[in-house]
Subunit: 375 residues, 2 copies
């Protein structure tokens, strides 16, 4: 069976189970959702409608692209619905001939649906019950996406090899002073990524020289400022390969003070602590809390989460955060980052981030990023 | 008066007028809104709360960055609210001491608020009336943003100069065959943009050689495929300067067939037709419909809108689309693209796009993109 049909089949079983007659996904500007790519292969800009019988209708913005790349039972240009989600939903309800004789069929729309649009759906389809839940069928799909299938693990192994080649090349070229500025480093990655057959980078490379590394995410992402000079420089980058994202952070340390070295060591300790706690069945929040406690003991606070799933989006479930509402449990087949980081207005910042596959025998660190000590 | 205070003052007058006691903006991953940058200078990742008395509270993710770049009456780390929008809204209601003695004060949340989050706001704040409207105060801010102030027009003149320098350099380097692949072209723009002092590009450059130009937006954005070979190649790019975006498209045509030349001429005719119709007081939809009619007469359909406002986001209001619900009226001070394009699976695609300032004396084409005929 085609991988996309197989994925949709898993999801459509939940439609039957939860008595939902039609499930809508939306991937448009301002409301991106990689689930459509996961379920059909269509890379962007489309709506998708799925039934409990595992029949789907894809309404892409660019129908030429969909004809080449997408797998769906039916493809209808979004333009045929006036590029209007209300008309498209109403059109899908009609095409699938939803039965309204025995009560209102349940139609589930994305949890990202803006409240005013939700009201428009309800008004346009008085014979349907419009369902919009933060923990509904879209969450089921998110959970399905959080566990990578064999096809995806195979892609991630290739992606890790590409990312590790980049890490090695970056370390060598920075050591040899061939890459001197933030822009040098970022454009080296852009060019090499394409040469290696990647779709590109998975997010705008963040290259922050020693003067700017105190910020969690440097702004602008990179400039003509020196990179890897005296102090702590952060390089956060990822590659995109066959749709999938890697995400790693290297810290380059040169001529560091004892206080800066202490910051680096503490970050490395946190990284290894987190890895030692990662097991099938562990609560993601517990791992993050252990790192928070380690940092608190040293009088430090990490201003961001410990990690996040990676996949068709660079930030996916599960979240490894210590937020109270984090209910994620780590499971075999998940791929996520571990990325402890500390930022000090005077000392600068450091972060160490790798992508980890939770295998049957425990965590496997796919990428080989590390803190690079220069002198 | 500080430009940010002045902008907030215009908006806060509408709060008083519409009896809204607190207005919330959100600029977070998945729900980006450049209005916070427009109103405070904070470039990203924050919530903003504004009162009818023009007092504002900014809750940034990165407080170090906000202390350097943002202008607000009070800055409180988003972390203090558990990085949770419900807690932040409740916290702002408390801090501003909203008066609930004479009925429920109206609190307006962004129109992008997901329906489930809207329900959470309502539950957390039973003493307030939570307002979430597609045509509410956020639309007022969008309309304010659509008319550029003097400060912004000054930036756009500098940005146009930078963009025009890039257009000239691209044409020269492609003619001289110094830029041969899609990646060559895209990375030339990336590197030059930084050298010229831009924040970067305003969106991922779309470089589609003749084999791929049939797609509206090439996917992947650029590859190692040849650029500007025989046929039609499209280059859609923009620069970001002091927060503001330019957006232009060049088409490179080499050794074209008569049918391809006809596609180019029709696109140029549409471009000049659109420009001739752009006046203060004209309905944006009427301009788009005139172009649609021109194309229909030639048996062609344009699969995207005719243009869009540019500003702190690359796609802003007004929309120059022929959609029925497009109510925008063109006004002096608006800056928008005109970008007719046609795409044929066999002939390839072409698009001509420039940024236009609607001045008191009519349209002024700020950027100098054009169809480049090579032989």
């Amino acid at each position: 069976m085609n991988i996309y049909t197989a994925r949709r089949e898993k999801l459509s079983a939940f439609l039957a189970q939860e008595n939902v007659s039609l499930l809508m996904f939306e991937d448009t500007e301002g409301r991106r959702d990689a689930s459509i790519r996961h379920l059909t292969g269509q890379p962007s800009d489309a709506l998708l409608f799925l039934t409990p019988e595992n029949v789907c209708l894809l309404a892409p913005w660019d129908v030429n692209m969909a004809d080449k790349l997408a797998h769906a039972d039916e493809i209808v240009p979004y333009n045929d619905f006036g590029t209007n989600p209300v008309k498209a939903l109403a059109g899908a309800v009609t095409r699938f001939g939803l039965d309204t004789s025995a009560g209102k069929p349940r139609v589930e729309v994305p949890p990202s649906t803006p409240h005013p649009l939700f009201l428009q759906y309800a008004e346009a389809l008085p014979n349907c019950e419009i369902v919009c839940r933060s923990q509904g069928l879209h969450s089921r799909e998110t959970a399905l996406r959080s566990i990578k299938d064999e096809h995806e693990v195979r892609i991630y192994r290739q992606l890790a090899e590409l990312t590790n080649g980049m890490i090695a090349a970056l370390e060598e070229n920075v050591r040899d002073r061939l890459l001197k500025t933030e822009t040098d480093v970022a454009l080296f990655i852009e060019a090499e990524a394409r040469k290696q057959g990647c779709e590109g980078v998975s997010f705008e490379t963040l290259a922050a020289g020693a003067e700017r590394s105190f910020g969690i995410h440097a702004f602008p992402a990179y400039t003509n400022a020196p990179f890897a000079g005296k102090g702590l420089s952060i390089l956060d980058f990822g590659l995109k390969y066959q749709g999938y994202a890697s995400d790693v952070t290297m810290t380059f340390a040169r001529d560091t003070s004892p206080q800066q070295e202490a910051l680096l060591t503490l970050t490395e300790t946190a990284y290894h602590l987190a890895l030692s706690l990662v097991k099938d069945g562990t609560k993601a929040r517990d791992v993050a809390m252990a790192v928070d406690e380690l940092f608190a003991g040293a009088g430090r606070t990490m201003p961001h989460g410990l990690g996040h799933g990676v996949g068709l989006e660079v930030h996916e479930e599960p979240r490894l955060s210590s937020r109270e509402d984090n209910q994620w449990v780590l499971k075999t087949g998940m791929i996520f980052t571990i990325e402890p980081g500390l930022y000090d207005p005077l000392l600068g910042g450091c972060r160490l981030e790798n992508d980890v596959l939770l295998g049957a025998d425990g965590p496997e660190v796919l990428t080989k990023s590390h803190i690079v000590r220069l002198s």
